[in-house]
Symmetry: C2
Subunit: 500 residues, 2 copies
């Protein structure tokens, strides 16, 4: 090919790769900032990061990129090229629609707001945070009107995290889910026994926890030759580029399951990053499909696999042996129970895999109402507490344990929350298909053999990058649109003994 | 100020700061590459680093920067601004004189040559490396003729490491030094007793070594709030930017002094980086004066202070106590002796502080002869071995332990070696002045009190950045030009008992 279309395409790809390469430099700096950076370096690091972001932003929003995208309009490109152009156009169009004054104002306000939120949470002082959240919502409404939307201004925001999703499409999924989850949670809560053991009163040496985390990450396929596992305050996974994906966890001597499931979660993200096609690095085909699809990969390993009875039947004795004699007296049944207790609780990040989704539904409803102006920020605590009582049957004792508990709104991440539950639903729907495609899969899992599942995820999901939009990917992989049915079926099966 | 000159100056500074900020992103990536980067990330890291270098290079070589420098020609600027313009012009002029084809060819050839050198050294196979060194010298001669020079083509190269230095100026210093060192080394070698103990047969727990290294670095003033100490294969120090300087060392259970002096050395570099004026970051006034001046700071702490008898009289008992009972039977005298044995030896990096300079003189003579064409690469091993015999009285048993021992030529670092000895000479001349300025300094050192010396270095050297050129700085600080006399006097005093 050397026609003008393919020349334009190549120039576009080259520019995009360069911007991505700069972005990946920023990813190294971001990882370093949260692991090893000396405290006094914070201001300089902010300047470094801002420069890389500005240069990268300049590349993807350049007039030349706009012209190239225009040239390629309706060009007869192959499937891969068409997908790349579609996604580059999405990013470019969104970025050029945002005035730089708004971008800067958002960066400035949200940077400061995160500190204010932290103080407000520590002091249980919602009025302190209120004007900042009001300002953020005002700016996000401006963002939505710059970007444009058909239905709700919320659509313009959620699209950045989950391309194609809208307030309406998510509401449809979530309202069905909430309706069916409520009686299930009530039943399981009433009947499911607590584990007889309280692990938090025992000591689990961090060095042993670390070895188990490393081993389980490697066992599910995380490649330590092309990645790392380190320690940080707020665990995450960062895919820096080909051959470089880093996951982070944290250890507490009394909470061995926190680091274990945290690592499984991040390693699930890591497998996705390591499974993206290296030859497409720097183009949309080398990027994960969406936040929701990314979360499906972490939740699949953490919950669907890692909290399954089959997994613990095989792994439990190894876990006991590693910490011997600390939990020699604990049965595998009790270990499994202690990883699976379903109970309404106040804090999202401590929630079990079932009630977690009610936490998300609550936040989604409230952030849509805030964005659409039906709910005033001043009324947020009341609205939160009322809805919390309805969904969980619990009285929220303080805003710190209520509407101030999460950082997301303070950094402007409105539209982010639903991707957690989309990830949970997707993980169940994906695994349902994988279980059909791979007979005896849970026998493998009981034996600690994960290769068939990892390969299936690589072949069906990871290797596509953004070739398909999330809804398309789901339909291609599972044969039908995303629904809450597979997740509900999973819950009903797993907790069958207690939910009838 | 809002006249055109000051506007031009400000634009120049802004551009320079941006290029420096990009460079400092590259410094984070470079540190990560040598500490924590996963092996499979190497190719991607090379692409990231090359992009940052290319973008930064584009900024400082831009036509606009050329125009701004031109506008500022003979402008009535203050002292600080004049120094900044002088150094920016030096860097800009050198960079624009280099055709990008030559820059790329040098990068390509030296990148590959480092691997070839490694193999040649391992296989003691000079002919394998010979064509690569020939190619590198040819390219470095092209570089020299692009950059321009008055005397030797070597001048154009050494200027990059030591602004203002020439083959002639260095030869004058070094030939005097060699002449006086030779009889001194012969005398000390003959009479100085070896330490009665062989530390290498004992075990020194790495965790204890690490604590001592951290403590001594902090004791001399290295700020761990604005820096780190980590482990790597080839120790170094990198000043990333304000609030972020990282030093690296390595530990062997049988060589506690290697990590100790290695850390003192790197912390000396680190103090310089941490002492550069933060407000001038990104401009020459915020950059170290030269490689030689940098090395003077590391050698001053490692050798002049760290290997002094006063230091060990105070520190020795603490060192013993930390490792008790491993060296309870070793006297402070023996500890001091074991850190100070002067003996001709084959390998530069293992050499004592006296014969080390003969190693450098040898390399300097040979690299000048190679650059000027008086010595053919094919004849290098013979020339090395002959001169080695003259200087050290030793027969070189193999090229691996001779002319193949150092990496520098393979990465194109011709003109780098002399800065090591310039650093040694400078450190002695600086400390001689400091000792006059600070009565009782070595009493402080014996008591483990280093603050007065650190402050003196900050005030007299660190805070100036590139305000003064290296020779100017030396004259300002010590009242006279650099000479080998203070270093020789230091050697004669320290080893007085054995060199008369």
């Amino acid at each position: 090919m050397s026609d003008p279309k393919s020349t334009a395409y190549q120039e576009l790809i080259d520019t995009w790769r360069e911007a991505s390469l700069l972005g990946s430099c920023g990813a190294v700096l971001g990882w370093d900032e949260r692991t090893f950076m000396p405290p006094a370096a914070a201001a300089h690091r902010a300047a470094q990061t801002a420069l890389l972001a500005r240069l990268g932003h300049g590349m993807v929003t350049s007039q030349r990129v706009g012209e190239l995208l225009e040239n390629l309009h309706e060009a007869p490109l192959g499937e891969a090229e068409t997908a790349n152009v579609r996604e580059m156009r999405r990013v470019h169009d969104r970025a050029v629609k945002m005035p730089s004054s708004l971008v800067e104002e958002l960066a400035r306000v949200t940077s400061e707001a995160q500190g204010i939120w932290q103080q407000a949470k520590e002091g249980n002082d919602f009025p302190k945070f209120q004007p900042w959240l009001e300002k953020i919502l005002e700016l996000k409404r401006q963002e939505a009107s710059c970007v444009g939307y058909a239905g709700s201004p919320y659509d313009a925001l959620v699209d950045e995290f989950e391309p194609g999703a809208t307030a309406k499409s998510i509401r449809a999924l979530f309202s069905d889910l909430a309706k069916q989850l409520n009686p299930l949670v009530a039943a399981i809560t009433q009947r499911m026994p607590k584990s007889k053991v309280d692990l938090s009163r025992r000591e689990f040496p961090v060095a042993i926890q670390e070895k188990l985390c490393r081993d389980i990450a490697a066992a599910i396929g995380f490649d330590f030759n092309a990645g790392r596992l380190d320690t940080t305050a707020h665990p995450f996974c960062t895919g820096i580029g080909p051959g470089d994906c880093r996951i982070l966890t944290r250890y507490h001597a009394n909470r061995p399951l926190e680091s274990f499931f945290g690592t499984l979660h991040e390693a699930g993200h890591g497998l996705y990053e390591q499974g993206l096609p290296k030859e497409h690095f720097g183009t949309p085909l080398g990027v994960a499909a969406s936040f929701g699809v990314h979360e499906s990969q972490s939740r699949l390993w953490e919950n669907q696999v890692g909290r399954s009875r089959d997994f613990w039947d095989g792994y439990g004795p190894k876990f006991q042996a590693a910490f011997a004699p600390v939990i020699d007296d604990v049965s595998v049944e009790d270990l499994w129970l202690s990883t699976n207790l379903v109970r309404p609780s106040l804090i999202r990040i401590d929630a079990d895999e079932v009630t977690y989704n009610l936490q998300i539904i609550l936040r989604f409803e409230l952030e849509v109402a805030l964005m659409e102006g039906q709910l005033k920020v001043a009324d947020l605590p009341g609205a939160w507490n009322d809805r919390f009582k309805q969904l969980f049957g619990l009285v929220v004792p303080s805003d710190a344990k209520g509407c101030l508990q999460d950082i997301h709104w303070s950094f402007g991440g409105i539209g982010y929350f639903p991707t957690y539950t989309l990830g949970n639903l997707l993980s169940a729907q994906f695994l349902e298909t994988a279980t059909t495609d791979l007979p005896g899969l849970f026998d493998d899992i009981r034996r600690g053999q994960f290769a068939r599942l990892t390969d299936w995820l690589r072949t069906n999901i990871h290797c596509h990058g953004q070739r398909y939009r999330p809804d398309e990917l789901c339909a291609r992989v599972t044969g039908r649109p995303l629904s809450s049915e597979p997740f509900l079926k999973y819950v009903r099966t797993k907790f069958a003994a207690w939910c009838k």
